[in-house]
């Protein structure tokens, strides 16, 4: 058949295009990894060296760079705290929106959306002033709290769409069994939507881990995050490519490992949010 031959041709072409896209996607990351393992001379060599003797100096050097290890640990703390705030608060709010009619419901929905859309510097400067005054500037707690302006609407929006998937019958059955709202939420909605909640938590964690703009302005010495530490390599005067690349790899790695193990959840979170929002 003519059409099947054309099909075959189209499919081959589809594979070629996909392969090209993968190459373009992965090449910069692979190159970054290679630079992190090269000596300065190898990194600057022209023509570029594809085969080289890898060195671990840049990674070891990071251990001695003041504040780098601390920044990594700070990011772990801030991410954990931020995810905890977002998920625990969003579960209740999502249940409220899903299960009840109330005055100001529409307004609350619009507020969530607009808060999510606000440009960072609108709230960074006022939060900076407030935090300086009450002593929350440069603290994990303060940073994790500011992140909620973005993470909370995102989590409410996603968790709510997962709650919508919970069969009505289960909710009814829980009521008939005499469950109050907290028990229904705990024994029906949370277990049923657990994969969705996990997806939300993962996406929130990725966002917080990778965030720079807010962390740059609201942290100083104590709670510098990993992205701020990586950003400190920017600037044309110090072209320390090796260590800059090593720091970037260290910052990427946790999320990459995360992505490999939690890929199913990530795709679920990203797609359900927009397909059924």
């Amino acid at each position: 058949m003519v059409s099947s031959r054309r099909d075959q041709l189209e499919r081959t072409l589809a594979y070629l295009i996909s392969l090209a896209a993968i190459l373009l996607t992965l090449f910069p990351i692979v190159w970054l990894l290679s630079v992190s393992l090269k000596t300065q001379r190898d990194a600057f060599a022209m023509p570029p060296k594809l085969i080289f003797e890898p060195i671990g100096d840049h990674f070891l050097g990071l251990l001695e760079r003041p504040g780098f290890v601390e920044a990594f640990m700070n990011s772990v703390n801030v991410t954990a705290l931020g995810v905890f705030f977002a998920i625990s608060i969003a579960i209740f709010a999502s249940y409220g929106i899903h299960r009840f009619r109330f005055r100001g419901k529409k307004l609350f929905g619009v507020w969530l959306l607009l808060a999510y859309m606000l440009p960072e510097f609108l709230f960074i400067i006022p939060m900076f002033v407030l935090y300086q005054r009450i002593g929350w500037y440069d603290t994990d707690f303060g940073l994790a709290l500011v992140y909620q302006v973005h993470s909370l609407p995102f989590a409410v929006w996603l968790i709510r769409s997962f709650f919508k998937e919970v069969p009505r019958d289960l909710d009814d059955a829980a009521r008939i069994d005499g469950c109050n709202h907290i028990r229904t939420l705990r024994h029906v909605y949370i277990p049923m939507a657990a994969p969705g909640i996990a997806a939300t938590a993962i996406l929130t964690a990725i966002w917080i881990w990778n965030e720079l703009t807010i962390a740059l302005s609201l942290t100083f010495r104590e709670t510098q995050t990993i992205t701020v530490a990586v950003a400190s390599f920017r600037g044309y005067t110090s072209i320390n490519w090796g260590q800059m690349a090593a720091a970037s790899i260290v910052a990427i790695l946790p999320m990459l490992v995360f992505a490999i193990f939690a890929q199913k959840y990530i795709v679920k979170g990203l797609t359900l949010g927009s397909l059924k929002g």
Binding site: F100, F121, L122, S274
Partner: protein
């Protein structure tokens, strides 16, 4: 959806969220708006100056250039990411084997922080020592100064953003394509439509709400661009890639012109929120159709 009940309990459920939103969004919005009528540079000077900050901004050529550049970046980056993402989704949707591993690999840029994307692109796109120019020269093409000149810097940051965020469009459109009901596609095939016609006349129109949602998110996100530009050009050369958020950063933290920075952000927020609300309306209408 369960028959929504009226109950006081709901206010306890949403109270923590309302409280946090009040502190992180309502207070800053009111504070910024109020401060935009003062003249405050971190010091003791704190005078009410009415609309002076606004008048000064509207009179400065720099402000209009930065506003224009912000939109230029947003429109071009969003358009590029939408076209590439949809095309890639259509292509990957056709694959029979290895689709899931290909999808995973194509998703990686979304795991990478914007600042790392920026530093990474500075390494590969370095005019003298970068691998990309080396490849271009080897292929007999002209090397590019990339971030180095006012003529090329903007298109380079747009390209970098596309490398980073096309995956977002791709993954959602792919899931959308795969969740389409089969009957309309069958009907189109029976009517003798070829692949292209089915795509443009049936599949993409069926995905219009999804595409629209993606359009909203990418537009707002690109308007708010910061790390990509901060990490590569820092707004330069001169102010060729300066955008609203880098301008606010520079005014607030380099020049300590707090009120001016807040005035910039108040104007910009009004623009962003207006666009969000218009989109929201249009989306409601799309869903009604």
């Amino acid at each position: 959806m369960p028959a929504a009940a009226r109950n006081r309990v709901v206010y306890f459920l949403i109270a923590p969220a309302v409280l946090i939103l009040a502190v992180t969004s309502l207070y800053p919005a009111v504070f910024s708006f109020a401060l935009s009528f003062f003249n405050w540079n971190w010091g003791v000077q704190f005078d009410f100056i009415g609309l002076r900050n606004y008048v000064d901004l509207f009179r400065s050529a720099e402000f209009w250039q930065v506003l224009y550049q912000t939109f230029l970046f947003a429109v071009l980056a969003t358009a590029l990411e939408l076209v590439l993402g949809v095309a890639l989704a259509v292509v990957v949707d056709r694959l029979k084997f290895g689709q899931s591993i290909i999808r995973t690999l194509l998703l990686t840029p979304l795991m990478v922080s914007g600042i790392i994307v920026a530093l990474m692109s500075k390494i590969v796109l370095d005019p003298m020592l970068g691998i990309v120019n080396y490849v271009l020269i080897s292929l007999g093409m002209a090397p590019s100064p990339f971030f180095g000149t006012t003529a090329t810097a903007m298109s380079t940051v747009i390209m970098v953003d596309a490398w980073w965020q096309t995956a977002f469009v791709f993954i959602i459109v792919l899931a959308g394509l795969q969740s389409l009901p089969q009957e309309p596609l069958e009907a189109a095939r029976v009517d003798g439509a070829d692949g292209f016609q089915t795509l443009f006349r049936v599949k993409l129109p069926m995905l219009r709400t999804v595409l629209f949602t993606i359009l909203i998110f990418r537009t707002i996100d690109t308007l708010k661009v910061f790390d990509i530009i901060f990490g590569t050009t820092g707004g330069g050369p001169q102010i060729a890639t300066e955008v609203m958020q880098t301008l606010a950063y520079r005014k607030a933290f380099s020049f300590l012109q707090m009120s001016e920075a807040m005035t910039v952000m108040v104007i910009f927020s009004v623009i962003v929120l207006a666009i969000s609300l218009v989109y929201l309306r249009l989306e409601e209408r799309l869903e009604e159709d």
